[in-house]
């Protein structure tokens, strides 16, 4: 237990230098990108004096970096550690405020999509490995490769047409019904509904989540099916599986307890990677289902040349990715007692 705690602590301390490197990289990459934020704010034909004035207000006339303490890099770092990711040029509000507005939608959608993909993908993948070379195995593999290669917007449209329009079972756009005015605490409508005991809100939010998270989940589950199956086949050849069989442990237990536990570590890695990827917003899914998430916000920020919004969002997402990989590393150590520093 002490070893585990010291591992977790070490791993957390290691992220501190990573945060510095990350912030520095984002700062310079944004500044070498073509385009002038002031110009895109005021339009190309604004008078030069106004441009200079705005440039001065934003602190963009300072040197990018030098040996003094009065430069853009220092301003940027100091703002970051005060929890300030800058002002959106387009919306004229702090970027953090916009993130707080859009991010919960993405988190909610990603969570349910990944839940679907992992539960369904790992279960069918493990079953396919268990019944190797059976009809079920071949069907599951075919399904895996198909679902992996379908374009998500097409699948989304099909689901909308069939289950939204033809059968009229599920809503096809937005996060919540028009007649429900959601109470917002965390921004996650399902969670907020549970906290405030507003079950109409919970039902409506879940109802709206069905089609987009199914579309996204089906696309993602192909990877999990194939990864789980391949890893399980490898693990099933291990000596301890043979040894467990030789002790007369029931096959179901050998496969789903001994083997799956060992096959799970690479699956966990993939979960982390996929979740991190989803955090930047599944742009195509969000667009298809008019889902107001991070993907939509990022596309908007790029279109409006909203540099501070872009920079703030990138930092936010990068920090999240770091947090997720930290979490995955800690989970490794919990699953596998051999993982220690």
């Amino acid at each position: 237990m002490r070893a585990l705690l010291s591992y977790i602590l070490t791993r957390i301390l290691l992220t501190i230098p990573m945060i510095f490197i990350l912030l520095t990289l984002v700062f310079f990459i944004i500044r070498v990108m073509p385009g002038d934020p002031v110009k895109s704010m005021l339009g190309a034909h604004a008078p030069k004096e106004t441009m200079d004035e705005v440039r001065h207000q934003l602190g963009l006339d300072k040197p990018i970096i030098d040996f003094s303490t009065n430069n853009q890099f220092v301003d940027y770092m100091s703002a970051f550690f005060h929890g300030d990711l800058g002002q959106s040029l387009w919306y004229r509000v702090p970027v953090t405020e916009k993130i707080a507005q859009y991010f919960p939608a993405t988190l909610e959608l990603s969570f349910f999509a990944l839940l679907f993909a992992v539960v369904f993908g790992v279960a069918t993948g493990a079953f396919a490995a268990h019944k190797r070379k059976s009809a079920a195995d071949y069907s599951i593999r075919l399904f895996g490769i198909t679902s992996y290669s379908i374009p998500v917007f097409w699948l989304g449209l099909m689901l909308q047409m069939i289950f939204g329009v033809a059968f009229d079972w599920f809503p096809i756009a937005g996060r919540i019904g028009a007649r429900v005015s959601p109470q917002v605490i965390t921004g996650l409508y399902v969670v907020d509904g549970i906290i405030t005991l507003n079950f109409e809100q919970v039902a409506s939010a879940l109802w709206h989540l069905v089609l987009p998270s199914t579309a996204l989940g089906l696309i993602l589950c192909g990877i999990f099916i194939r990864l789980t199956r391949a890893n399980m086949l490898g693990v099933l050849k291990q000596d301890y599986v043979l040894a467990a069989n030789a002790r007369g442990i029931p096959k179901r237990r050998v496969v789903y307890k001994h083997a799956l536990k060992n096959a799970f570590v690479p699956i966990l890695t993939m979960m982390g990677l996929e979740f991190a990827y989803l955090m930047s917003g599944a742009v195509l899914t969000e667009t298809t289902f008019s889902w107001p998430g991070m993907g939509s916000f990022l596309v908007e920020s790029v279109n409006y040349r909203d540099f501070p919004a872009l920079q703030g969002t990138i930092i936010f997402i990068a920090l999240l990715v770091m947090g997720i990989s930290l979490l995955v590393d800690i989970l490794y150590a919990i699953i596998d007692p051999r993982v220690r520093y």
Binding site: Y240, A243, A244, N245, R247, G248, I249, D336, P337, R338
Partner: protein, 323 residues
């Protein structure tokens, strides 16, 4: 030999591969007398491990038993389905594998290994009773029961192998198949382990099939020896007889290859050639290409069931030429 706990007759195991059928075990017959230790010796790849696994019908795919009978206490295991075999594995016959590091699940605590084994066969044993039994056995094997809460990688190699023995004994089987149990141990630990195994064998009146390539271990532990070559048992005898008077040229070769501290040897004897490719074994006796006593019949006919002086040896030097 009347009271055999296990008797195998005419057993053949084939592995279909892309280059042809590998006859890993070819028409093998032998039996294990109750309460005795039988050594099964041979080079790597001669089929001895496959034979050991076949007793529990656990050959690695795509191996399959194509002929023969395996009688355990008079019941033919070939007729048993998977569910019936599962109930035999553990309580009736158990196995000790060569590498205890890879034979224990690295993510599961040691006590769980024991508990699930008991749970798989004795449904109505409570957890406390089971734990008491496990602790007692493990302490008896010289491991503090407090270590059962640890994971396999936290134990030393010798301790892990004792845990493997414990797992094999926890359901009180009468027959244990030990597949090169000391392969991963250093000589000191190996000596302790062999003493322990010998003690346990007497204490529980176990029958042990000891699969090994180490003649020294056989000499220490076994009552009888079966020598395997290219998927066939070429000679079987009591351990004293075999070491004092080996009959088969292969056995003679094996014994001469052991360094002897009492003889002043400049070079150690080595057998010429190498074991045959089992997808395409030589015609007749599989040993004839390497045999110093080769006769004209040897590459034409396969010796079978030759008995001389009450000993079983598959070699035309001892008769059977007319059969």
């Amino acid at each position: 030999m009347d009271d055999a706990i296990l008797s195998i007759t005419g057993l053949s195991i084939h592995y279909p591969t892309s280059t042809g059928i590998v006859k890993a075990v070819d028409n093998v017959s032998f039996s294990l007398p109750r309460g005795k230790v039988v050594g099964l010796v041979g080079e790597s790849g001669c089929g001895k491990s496959t034979l050991g696994l076949a007793i529990l019908k656990l050959m690695r795919p795509p191996g399959e038993i194509v002929a023969g009978k395996i009688l355990l206490d008079g019941e033919n295991l070939i007729d048993k389905d998977e569910a019936q075999m599962r109930r035999i594995r553990g309580p009736k016959v158990s196995m000790v594998f060569q590498d205890p590091m890879t034979s224990l699940n690295p993510l599961i605590r040691l006590d769980r290994h024991f508990l699930e084994t008991i749970d798989a066969h004795e449904r109505n044993v409570g957890k406390d009773d089971a734990m008491a039994r496990i602790n007692k056995l493990v302490e008896h094997l010289g491991i503090s029961s407090s270590r059962l809460r640890e994971f396999p990688h936290e134990l030393s190699g010798g301790m892990r192998q004792r845990i493997m023995i414990g797992l094999a004994l926890i359901l009180n089987p009468k027959l244990i198949i030990a597949d090169e149990p000391t392969n991963s141990l250093d000589v000191i630990v190996e000596a302790h382990f062999l003493d322990l195994l010998k003690g346990l064998q007497k204490e529980y009146n176990l029958t042990i099939l000891l699969i090994t390539h180490n003649m020294g271990i056989v000499a220490q532990l076994a009552d009888r020896v079966a020598v395997m070559y290219a998927g066939r048992i070429v000679e079987e005898a009591g351990v004293m007889d075999l070491f004092a008077r080996p009959l088969h040229p292969y056995t003679k070769g094996l014994l001469s290859s052991i360094p002897n501290i009492e003889v002043d040897q400049m070079r150690l004897y080595t057998m010429p050639g190498s074991p045959p490719d089992l997808t395409d074994p030589p015609p007749g006796c599989p040993f004839h290409p390497r045999c110093p006593n080769k006769m004209s019949i040897c590459d034409k006919k396969t010796p079978h069931d030759i008995i001389t002086d009450g000993r079983h040896v598959e070699c035309f030097l001892y008769g059977g030429k007319d059969a």
